[in-house]
Amino acid sequence: MLHTVNKSSFESASLKICLGLAKSGSDILLIEDGVYGALAGTIHATMLAEATSAVSVYALGPDLKARGLPEDRLISGIKVVGYDGFVELACANDKVQSWL
């Protein structure tokens, strides 16, 4: 199952709620303002860093670039994908849940 999160973890509970319900083995894709959750060194980074042992976390590259977030600033273990990778993740998983 693919979960997408499109809100900043600093302003919204979406990422936290997603992590609370995502099962081990799930894929999580951060898009739009959700990509701020991928930043290393923030007060929320531990929450996501700890989750990466149980789930695979991805961040949408075009949204990182729009916001000026280079890959070397991300929590280690987060994979960056493009829209094509987003499509692949949607197809590879049996369903997609958008945490808006």
Binding site: F10, D33, T42, G61, A66, R67, G68, R73
Partner: protein, 135 residues
């Protein structure tokens, strides 16, 4: 309209996810023509609006970040960024676009517009205002 009021534009949202930052900036630029006592504050995710290196080509949106560099020309010279908001997000001043203005009373010397202030200082500044906009 002979009065001069203190206007503060508070920016609390990250860019691109919503249009509020872009449309908020349009208010500031238009407002500059009214010769009021204007400042901007960037707090919470609003500090991300000033992040260096924004590149929207792949996402197809309009990159409006160069507009912040024009603020000095519009005589918006006081741009407050909350220190705690930067720290919570793992950012430092070096992550922000350098914004400047030219001081005509000082032989057009180029001076920095961004001032990093504490939450307490910002709270004091907020209290001094006459009109507060929030984008």
């Amino acid at each position: 309209m002979s009065e001069t009021k203190k206007f503060m534009y508070i920016n609390r949202r990250p860019p691109y996810g919503t249009v509020y930052p872009l449309e908020g900036l349009e208010v500031v630029l238009i407002g500059a023509a009214f010769e009021q006592d204007v400042c901007m504050a960037f707090i919470s995710d609003g500090v991300f609006q000033l992040k260096q290196g924004q590149d929207t080509i792949e996402s197809g949106m309009k990159n409006f970040s160069p507009t912040y560099r024009a603020l000095g020309d519009y005589e918006v010279t006081r741009i407050y960024v909350e220190r705690e908001s930067l720290e919570e997000r793992g950012l430092t001043e070096a992550d922000l676009m350098p914004l400047t203005w030219e001081d005509e009373d000082d032989d057009w010397a180029e001076k920095p517009s961004i001032q990093i202030v504490s939450r307490t200082q910002l709270s004091d500044l907020l209290e001094e205002q006459d009109v507060v906009f929030n984008f």
